[in-house]
Symmetry: none
DNA sequence: CATGAATGAGAGTTCATTCAT
DNA sequence: CATGAATGAACTCTCATTCAT
């Protein structure tokens, strides 16, 4: 609900109705709407972080790991019902009134990017990725691919087409960053 | 104002004050807040479209044109005070209550993407861009680069660093899509 | 309404309904309920202060002035529909969330007590009031007489009885503080 | 808690926490918050009544008794942490939703005033107090002295100053009502 | 046409009260 | 009896929209 409709479009009444409890009950568990959203995001980010680690350790090379990670996130996004990464990504814009919670969120996001940074630098060290490119650029290009904004217009119900899109994005990205271009 | 603070964070009072007219006067020209925002976006999109065309015709090859376009949009985004593309991009998420206006916006967005699609297909026709990649993928990868969400965290006041980021993103993208990589 | 039912017992809906305007309209003129109450009190205190001065200047001796002042306040209180002093007195307990407004209120209350203090010290100087009594005690005894809490139970509709009560309170007070006892 | 912070500022949660039982348990013993407050006041009033009687029987003359009573109440008030009389006095303003309980409270308050009325009339009978003054006036003047509202602004931590204030108030009051002034 | 005070539906939040455990 | 999570009515406050001037 919150993940799909957004912060302002989702009222506490709606949330309560959707969860099947009374509005006041929410305030037993969360002191404010912001706190609720932050807690939700925190949970999602933690799940996402765990997912990242699980995905990474299933592969050995930096390239394979980064590619698997890209597929993992894309799969999540293409499931149409926005999920982990989507909710996180959507929330990075907002300014919450709870500095402490925001700090926790920022810390988690940092840990997420650290994983990717590690993969990139590892790949550069092993000679898999270009050393001429800054980590910053490769990181930015990586996460840019998951801009749900534009994805929405490209989502197709056809499983095959979606898969093909992901494959080609992977090709574009890795041709761009990898040392040996495939063409 | 609307472009920077967002739809919900900008009240009609603020808009009126900023424009220098009375709040009631706005409703003479626009039937609702949504209509106002849509009209604003429409104007921005039209300007942006004109900007695209101006940029494109300054170059001859598809590659040069697409690269110039990328730089044009990036410059807009990096100016920090969100401008044309930024306001458009930000608004694509929202669901307005005015179907007719939304349709006009959709039409304009389509005309924008058509420009890029034309460049891509032209480049494929001339052999500049890979024919194996679908237009969809190259289009998606192109607009993904402008995810302001993630850009925010990478914006730096240092002009030189920003420029370097753009250069490297261009390298990644075009190495990925172009037939002959330049490195 | 607010004066009679008290802060917590009077909702903004009630106030709006009583004044004959919409709830939202109140917030055009006052930023919060506290601000509204403080403004109301401020106005009452200013009126009261003006009333005090008007009463005082109608008499010449300290004794006559203080007595007239006592009658003035009592008359206000006995009118049953709580008025100036009553609303002020009732509000001295509350803790508002607007420090600035509270400071203004405190300043006004100080100016009110200053008038009485001046009368008392003047009377001591002229030999009308006992010099052995501290100003503080005479001041406190004076304002204590207007404790609406207890007054409520003694208010009678009979004009004559009310007047007699006031007369006797005056006698008790002034016999207590004046140099020459009457008895 | 209730005595100090007031009815509206004290929630059932706070009361439960303070008493050390669960919130729901309160409702086994008291049907409502009003009933709880009324019961608390009733207990306080009964204690106060017992205190009055204890104080009175320690002295013989009406004058001594009334003076001792005045000191007794004042001491309670000056202890800053509001106690018996204070809680009672504070509650007389409120309008409870339990007519029966309010009646019991009213009855107890009447019994309290009856003690004072008895002292006053006894003193008039023995010639200690002026017969010209109505019992009502002397009663009202007596309880007026305990207006906590104004007392707050005069409370000082200095034990000596507080005592001096009480002494002078006693002098003012008794000079006002007694037949022979003592100076 | 322009104005801005007035509107009122709806938002987030609180808290006395209830009831399954 | 005791519990405390759940309830929902009522509160304060916001803001897009209207309309008499």
């Amino acid at each position: 609900m919150l993940e799909q409709k957004g912060y302002h479009e989702t009222s506490m009444d709606e949330i309560a109705a959707r969860v099947g409890i009374a509005k006041g009950t929410i305030y037993i568990h969360f002191p404010s709407k912001d706190a609720l959203v932050i807690a939700l995001l925190e949970r999602n980010m933690q799940k996402f972080l765990a997912g990242i680690d699980a995905v990474i350790e299933q592969h050995s090379t930096s390239r394979a790991r980064l590619e698997a990670l890209l597929r993992y996130i894309m799969t999540d996004l293409l499931q149409k019902q926005m999920h982990l990464f989507s909710s996180i990504s959507h929330s990075l814009d907002l300014k919450y009134q709870e500095p402490e919670g925001e700090a926790r969120l920022g810390g988690l996001w940092q840990r997420i990017t650290e994983r990717v940074v590690a993969l990139i630098e590892e790949g550069q060290a092993t000679g898999e990725f270009k050393r001429a490119l800054s980590t910053q650029a490769m990181l930015y290009a990586f996460f840019s691919l998951f801009a749900t904004r534009h994805l929405k217009k490209h989502i197709v119900n056809d499983e095959h087409t979606s898969q093909r899109l992901v494959d080609q994005l992977i090709e574009i990205y890795f041709t761009g960053i990898a040392v040996e271009s495939r063409s």
